[in-house]
Amino acid sequence: MAACETWRLRPGQTLQYRQWDGECVLYNDLSGDTHLLGDGAIELLLALRRAPATRGALAAILQAGFDIDAAALDHETDLLLRDLAHLNLIDTLAC
């Protein structure tokens, strides 16, 4: 994924969720499914609810909020974004 790629919360997602003891349970408005997410995932979703953001900016949020090794940061960010996109929670903006 390119660092300049811009991500957004998919239109229609309202982020109904609860965080309990380091786990997040989130309702997916588009699929009707309920997901169990980690803290990193909900941090990214909340950031994208405020405004679309580049992959680089999202990686910075993860680095600031969680103790992620710099060498693994790109990989972890890509994995998280791919998983959230797979769940139809986020997508990329057209360039």
Binding site: Q16, R18, D21, E23, V25, T34
Partner: protein, 304 residues
């Protein structure tokens, strides 16, 4: 309001055989038609405390238990359950008519009452706080529920936890408690004055009998309760009694797994269940001795 007990046996049978018996169980009124002695026997034994409505009153469910036509009336007679004239199930032996009525009424609620978030769970209450016991068949849920409601807890339901989305409270639907196989004798021994329907053998669940709901629970069927504890019971012969806290996220998914209509309700179901999980302490509960189980429940502290 008059109760079913105000009818003589002759009057009860006449209503069942003609315009129907309109009986209120918590939030629901059912109009029951049946010419069968087994149905009249079960209602006569277990439904005396329930409010009775006039023949022209509104009913949520119009159900019948009747013979299929033809030769089966005479040879190994059977019974059909109908809702508004439709037959949702295969016929059963006539001797199974009363359990079929109970199962059918549960089915009516669980497939239609979508104003509520409905969970397959027993619900009992003490001091305004409700314990919800979600569990699959065979977990000892109904045995535990039957014991609790005869040791100071109020019965809201043996089968259906009905969460009202507007305020998150539990709406009672206190009906007879369904017990099967060895549990029937366990509760007969545990509850000195237990009133049971006639046990019916060779059902799909084995031998089944229904325990009369406590009169006080039926009289308070209009009183909602606040969810306070979610307890997943598990009977294991010889097991030591244990109550183990479980994380809220895990409790959320396990309750949802036992829901009849969580997916159907969409975001409203999520909000209703999430609010319940917020307000409850959740546990796994393993037991084998009812007295020890009663002591554990008596010691439950309302969550802050």
């Amino acid at each position: 309001m008059l109760t079913v007990a105000s009818l003589s046996r002759t009057q009860l049978e006449a209503r069942l055989s003609s315009a129907g018996l309109l009986v209120q169980t918590g939030a629901f009124v059912s109009r029951i038609h049946s010419p069968l002695r087994q149905v009249a026997d079960g209602i006569d034994t277990l439904y005396g405390d329930y409010p009775l409505h006039d023949g022209d009153a509104f009913a949520d469910f119009h159900v019948g238990l009747r013979h299929p036509g033809g030769m089966r009336r005479w040879y190994k007679p059977q019974v059909n359950f109908d809702l508004d004239g439709q037959l949702p199930f295969e016929p059963l032996p006539q001797a199974h008519a009363f359990p079929m009525l109970e199962w059918g009424l549960n089915w009516c609620i669980s497939t239609r009452a979508h104003a509520y978030l409905m969970i397959h769970a027993a619900v009992v209450e003490r001091g305004g706080c409700a314990a919800i016991l979600p569990a699959p068949p065979g977990s000892g849920k109904s045995t535990l529920c039957a014991a609790l409601v005869n040791r100071g807890w109020r019965l809201l339901s043996d089968e259906l936890a009905l969460f009202r989305p507007a305020d998150g409270v539990l709406v009672p639907v206190p009906r007879p408690v369904s017990l099967k196989n060895r549990s029937i004798d366990v509760i007969r021994d545990y509850v000195a004055d237990a009133v049971f329907s006639v046990p019916v053998s060779n059902t799909t669940k084995g031998t089944v009998a229904h325990l009369k709901a406590p009169s006080a629970s039926v009289a308070r069927a209009h009183e909602t309760a606040r969810p306070a504890w979610i307890v997943f019971p598990r009977y294991e012969a010889g097991a030591a009694t244990s109550l183990t806290p479980i994380p809220r996220a895990s409790a959320f998914f396990r309750v949802a797994d036992n829901a009849f209509n969580y997916s159907h309700m969409g975001g409203r179901g999520f909000q209703t269940l999430a609010a319940a999980i917020d307000g409850c302490a959740s546990y796994d509960f393993r037991y084998s001795a009812l007295d020890e189980a009663m002591a554990v429940f008596a010691a439950l502290e309302p969550p802050r």
